[in-house]
């Protein structure tokens, strides 16, 4: 193993992630591709800045589509950021070619989510665990097998003779994940990016693999980026946690602070949503409605505002929120009432465009007056809905009704009581 990083009192920055964005071009339909139209892009990661200290375990927590995996992969150069800098060892690794990145690959390693897919089905365990050594010419032929044996022993695949000449298909899920870990540590890396390493495993195996990662951290002086959607394991494993939503970090801070006093409504929601075997805990209510919106057209303002129970004037309301409100309302009334009300309102697909204000035309047999009454009734039916806090004015314009929204803007990460949080409440 290479020399261990020196222990210093002040935490040393291992990787400096500076305003990194990763945008993916959308491929669009065949017609728009044929016409060469701009099909837009998805901001998988959108301006993330994190300093990763040597020896720490940083958790990237979020749901699918939050950009946590993309960010983790960009740390290893597996995805090229669109902009920003990732400084490792004094040098920016953004924009490096595969060839230039190769020397770094011995020090930055990755553990994948699905152990069944992360191993080459056509190579024996000994071959693939030792392959990094062969590729980087770090050991002679005879040495490789011995080094593989050591690595397997370290990850608990002992007696190693039982595993060396096996194919992945002969191993159980937990054993495969151990082999993946062995392959990752065999070159003596400083950083391990672990992408949901336990989520595909059986309940009874998760704790074992997590324990193994903790042991490896201690014995090999590893720094981890632990990507997960599971706050419970993050709480146990991480020193620092970054909560991500739609490509942004919405809250970041020491694990203890975040779990003791979650600030961002999204963090609070994630915490409340974890199913807990404790029978005395009540089933969580008032969870955020809906799902992660389309990252190609994220909501204006704070991207969490459409789901946020605590959203208010500043959060960036727009016409799509009105459509969501209508649909929510109609999902809660009896079918007859829906049929009646649906007649009042004209086409609502125009509300799919981002931004405000919202103008709704009445249906064939109704007028602006009826619509206005309907909107008032909606407000009366659910006056506590955060939506109404963002509405500045409702008025009849021409034949339709216009709903004007408060001016909102995008919250930035700001320090608040030991953590950084991107929310207008703080």
């Amino acid at each position: 193993m290479p020399k261990k990083p020196e222990v210093v009192a002040e935490p040393q920055t291992l990787i400096d992630i500076d305003d990194v964005s990763v945008h993916f071009q959308l491929r669009g339909g065949s017609l728009s591709r044929l016409l060469g139209r701009d099909t837009g892009s998805v901001r998988a990661v959108d301006g993330v800045t994190i300093k990763l200290a040597t020896g720490e375990v940083l958790g990237l927590v979020g749901e699918s589509g939050s950009g946590k995996t993309t960010l983790g992969r960009s740390l290893l150069g597996l995805v090229q950021p669109t902009s920003g800098r990732i400084v490792y060892d004094g040098a920016d690794i953004v924009g490096l070619s595969e060839r230039q990145l190769r020397p770094l690959r011995t020090r930055l390693q990755m553990v994948f989510q699905d152990p069944n897919a992360a191993l080459n089905p056509a190579m024996t365990i000994a071959e693939q665990v030792g392959h990094p050594l062969t590729i980087h010419k770090l050991a002679s032929r005879g040495d490789v097998r011995q080094r593989v044996g050591e690595a397997l022993e370290r990850v608990g695949l002992a007696p190693v003779e039982r595993f060396l000449d096996k194919y992945p298909s002969d191993l159980s899920g937990g054993q495969k994940q151990r082999a993946v870990l062995a392959r990752a540590i065999i070159t003596g890396p400083t950083l391990l990016v672990a992408d949901e390493p336990i989520s595909m495993l059986d309940m009874s195996v998760r704790a074992k693999i997590l324990q193994l990662m903790i042991d490896l951290r201690a014995s090999l002086n590893l720094t981890y980026v632990y990507i997960t959607h599971d706050l419970a394991s993050a709480k146990f494993f991480c020193d620092r946690v970054a909560i991500m939503y739609l490509g942004r970090v919405v809250e970041i801070g020491p694990t203890a602070e975040i779990f003791a006093d979650p600030k961002h409504p999204y963090t609070k929601a994630l915490l409340a949503a974890i199913p807990d075997p404790d029978p005395d805990r009540a089933v969580p209510r008032d969870l955020p409605r809906g799902e992660i919106p389309d990252a190609a057209e994220p909501p204006t303002g704070c991207s969490f505002h459409p789901r946020c129970p605590a959203a208010f004037e500043l959060c960036g309301w727009e016409r799509r929120d009105l459509k969501a409100l209508l649909e929510r309302h109609w999902a809660s009334v009896p079918p007859e009432e829906y049929e009646r009300e649906r007649q009042l309102v004209g086409d609502i697909d125009g509300l799919d465009e981002p931004g405000g204000p919202a103008v709704v035309q009445p249906g064939r047999a109704s007028s602006a007056r009826d619509m206005n009454v309907l909107v008032q009734r909606l407000q009366g039916a659910a006056p506590d809905d955060p939506f109404w806090r963002g509405v500045r004015d409702i008025r009849e314009v021409g034949s339709g009704v216009e709903v004007q929204f408060e001016d909102g803007h995008d919250p930035r990460l700001r320090p608040s009581g030991g953590v950084d949080v991107a929310c207008h409440l703080y």
């Binding site: 749901e63 608990g156 002992a158 007696p159 595993f163 159980s172 937990g174 054993q175 151990r178 495993l201 059986d202 309940m203 009874s204 195996v205 998760r206 704790a207 074992k208 997590l210 324990q211 903790i214 959607h229 599971d230 706050l231 419970a232 394991s233 709480k235 146990f236 779990f259 929601a269 994630l270 915490l271 409340a272 949503a273 974890i274 199913p275 807990d276 075997p277 404790d278 029978p279 005395d280 805990r281 089933v283 969580p284 209510r285 969870l287 955020p288 409605r289 799902e291 992660i292 209508l326 649909e327 929510r328 109609w330 999902a331 809660s332 009334v333 009896p334 079918p335 649906r342 609502i348």
Partner: protein
């Protein structure tokens, strides 16, 4: 076997009130493989009453899914099933195949893990509902079918404006809601949900659990919820059955079982779950056994931290424990009948770290 059902008062499984929808006694489902029979389900008994949700938990490879499919008669070729399985008192295993087929869909339904593969991408949601209702409830009128579909969509939280959309226009969570709605629109008396939230995000999973939890009250359906997540059972089920190596080892009220687990397997499973209150990592050594050649006696004994000398020699029966649940463990039974030394701790073989699932 039949004795048990003839004398319900002696039957430890028959407790509580409400109509018994599904009653299984000593159910066995064995698979044929190239290596000989695999005892995926091996002597399982339980009752499920209307309005009840029974959570079926255990590690993968312990027969949960097989049991779920077996109850609906959806077993692959080369499997055999015996024992007693009654639907509202009618023996499912003895009834003609035709009648069993008719029951599926109308009375018995299944919610699968991957909703996208179960929805026809070329059919609108409305057409899915129309088809389901047309096949199984042909005497309904057009308007009736529509209002019934919309009503169930409302319960499940899907806006009626989306009724004519195609499956791909929905998000993953919405699709799973649709699957639940499709399974429930025929108002089946018994539903099996096999890992319905495994593919979903945390918040969406919580929403679905909330829906399942509420459904129990609103519809008088008996639900068997198969999951590996104990937290989901605690939040969505009122009863729980813990399965290990093809057998149910503990069965009881969910709150009761989670508060005071009686079987060591239940206890260890709870302890190895990582939750927000976890302060130290615990795990069960070893892996579930090969069901083609399960261990003798109590099948959990090679991994059990409290195994006794009796455990590998005799199979414990499911008997009521002092805590109120049923458990198959020698710790709670036998009394003085056991031979001397039977309760001495078992010298155990070392289980290697890597011997795991």
């Amino acid at each position: 076997m039949s004795e048990l059902t003839d004398r319900p008062s002696d039957d430890p499984y028959r407790r509580g009130t409400g109509e018994v929808v599904i009653s299984a006694r000593d159910l066995r489902i064995w698979y044929g493989t190239e290596r000989g029979p695999v005892r995926a389900v091996d002597g399982v008994s339980f009752d499920l009453r209307a309005g009840e949700t029974l959570g079926l938990v255990g590690e993968s490879g312990c027969g949960k899914s097989t049991l779920g499919r077996g109850l609906l008669g959806l077993l692959p070729d080369g499997s055999k099933m015996d024992g007693t399985l009654q639907y509202r008192g009618e023996d499912i295993l003895a009834m003609p195949a035709r009648r069993r087929h008719d029951l599926r869909g109308t009375d018995l339904a299944m919610i699968f893990q991957e909703p996208l593969t179960r929805l026809n991408p070329l059919m609108r949601i409305s057409e899915h509902f129309e088809e389901a209702l047309n096949t199984h409830a042909p005497n309904l009128g057009r308007d009736q079918r529509r209002s019934r579909s919309l009503a169930i969509l409302r319960t499940i939280g899907i806006p009626p404006t989306r009724y004519r959309s195609y499956p791909h226009e929905f998000s993953g969570g919405m699709r799973q809601r649709l699957m639940i709605a499709l399974a429930l629109v025929l108002e089946p008396a018994f539903v099996v949900a096999d890992e319905p939230t495994t593919a979903l995000d945390v918040l969406v999973e919580a929403q679905i659990i909330g829906i399942l939890h509420d459904l129990r009250r609103e519809i008088d359906t008996a639900l068997l919820l198969i999951t590996h997540n104990l937290g989901i059972v605690a939040e969505a089920c009122n009863r729980v059955a813990v399965m290990y190596a093809g057998e149910i080892v503990e069965l009881g009220e969910a709150a009761q079982v989670f508060r005071a687990p009686q079987h060591p397997y239940t206890r260890e499973l709870l302890r190895s779950t990582i939750s927000l209150s976890t302060t130290g990592l615990n795990f069960i050594p070893g892996a579930p056994p090969d069901l083609a050649a399960p261990p003798s006696g109590c099948r959990f004994h090679p991994r059990c931290p409290t195994a006794m000398r009796i455990c590998p020699t005799r199979t414990p029966r499911m008997l009521p424990t002092t805590a109120g649940s049923l458990a198959a463990c020698w710790l709670h039974q036998g009394g003085d009948e056991l031979p001397a030394g039977a309760r001495e701790p078992l010298e155990r073989q070392e289980i290697s770290v890597a011997e795991e699932a």
